[in-house]
């Protein structure tokens, strides 16, 4: 289907949600102060996306991530809690698992290591590895240069490697 088409993408909204829900929720958890907050961000972004008359098939998933980010920014500004995104991971550390429903030691270690990353690096890592976006797509979603996205990813991966190598090996 052409990127210029204004008709609905193929499949129902449930199809799209099944395809991208996990990734969107993981990304939203980088912005929210609680699991309920993350779910609200995904709901707001997804409803806005599905209702948008400018929704396109081509790279529509970038719109979804961008809308989650915009919703996260709006909520952070509204709450005047600029550091909320830095604290959200810590706030959920004891109650929320980001990965498999039944986390094992490895999942918990990865989550803990991610939570220690600066937000800007964690955001890029989540989009790159679990969002499966390219650096160019990440750059467009976050409105940053592609080189910046790549640098943040490199630093993040080095930090994760240092923290996780004993656990993963």
């Amino acid at each position: 289907m052409s990127a210029h088409a204004h008709s609905h993408p193929s499949g129902t909204w449930q199809t799209w949600f099944d395809a991208y829900g996990r990734k969107l929720l993981l990304y939203a958890r980088q912005w929210a102060t609680s699991s309920a907050g993350a779910e609200d961000l995904v709901q707001e972004a997804f409803v806005r996306f599905w209702r948008s008359p400018h929704r396109a098939d081509h790279e529509a998933h970038l719109q979804l991530f961008a809308m989650v980010r915009r919703a996260g920014l709006d909520h952070v500004r509204a709450a005047s809690r600029r550091m909320a995104r830095e604290q959200s991971a810590a706030a959920d550390a004891d109650t929320l698992t980001w990965f498999a429903p039944v986390p094992d030691e490895r999942d918990a270690a990865v989550q803990a290591a991610l939570q220690q990353l600066p937000f800007e690096q964690r955001e890029v890592v989540v989009l790159k590895i679990w969002g499966e976006l390219t650096f160019e797509q990440i750059a467009r979603t976050l409105d940053i240069p592609a080189n910046t996205a790549a640098s943040r990813y490199r630093y993040a991966l080095e930090a994760l490697r240092r923290a996780l190598t004993p656990t993963l090996s």
Binding site: A3, H4, W13, Q14, F17, G21, R22, K23, L25, L26, E39, V42, Q43, F46, V47, R48, F49, W50, R51, S52, P53, H54, R55, A56, H58, E59, L62, Q63, A66, M67, R70, T97, W98, F99, A100, P101, R106, D107, V110, I129, W130, A139, R140, T141, D143, I144, P145, L157, L160, R161, L164, T165, L168
Partner: protein, 174 residues
Amino acid sequence: MIPSDPFEEELRGLRPAPPPPHLANAIARALEQPAARTKPAALALERTRRRARQASLWLGWGVAAGMTVAFLHSRAQAPRLPHDAGANPTAAATAPAAPSVTGRSGDFTAVSTTNTLVGALDEGVVFLEDGRPARKVRYEFVDTVNLRATGGSSATIDVSYPREEIRLVPVDAL
């Protein structure tokens, strides 16, 4: 072909937790409801804000410039012709009037405006509130307003100030 990093592959092996069932139900309920009044598109809102800032900045400079020049003029008095009871009263009536000393911005009028582009920066593609992709370009201008006194004086003043304008141009496709 760039070989895959085993560490990255290990991380990719972790699967994000699925959304809880109540989230899909909440989305379904929200989609069933009529859409709320949408916010103005980011493009129109951005331009409206910029124009409001430009207008208030220009007005402020105009008032300040007018008051400054009028103050300087108030120190100089135009020569008055002597009035003689026996002289032709018409001659006295045609003597040049003193320059305006009121200091009101209305004593000056803008006769020309020059907008000089001094820089432009393409900041890449962003997404508008409605999801459309748009290219964001930041322009830097120096605006110069030439003001001229209207009360018979030939005083002029040029007021220059920097102005920044961000333009969001929707793109058809990425």
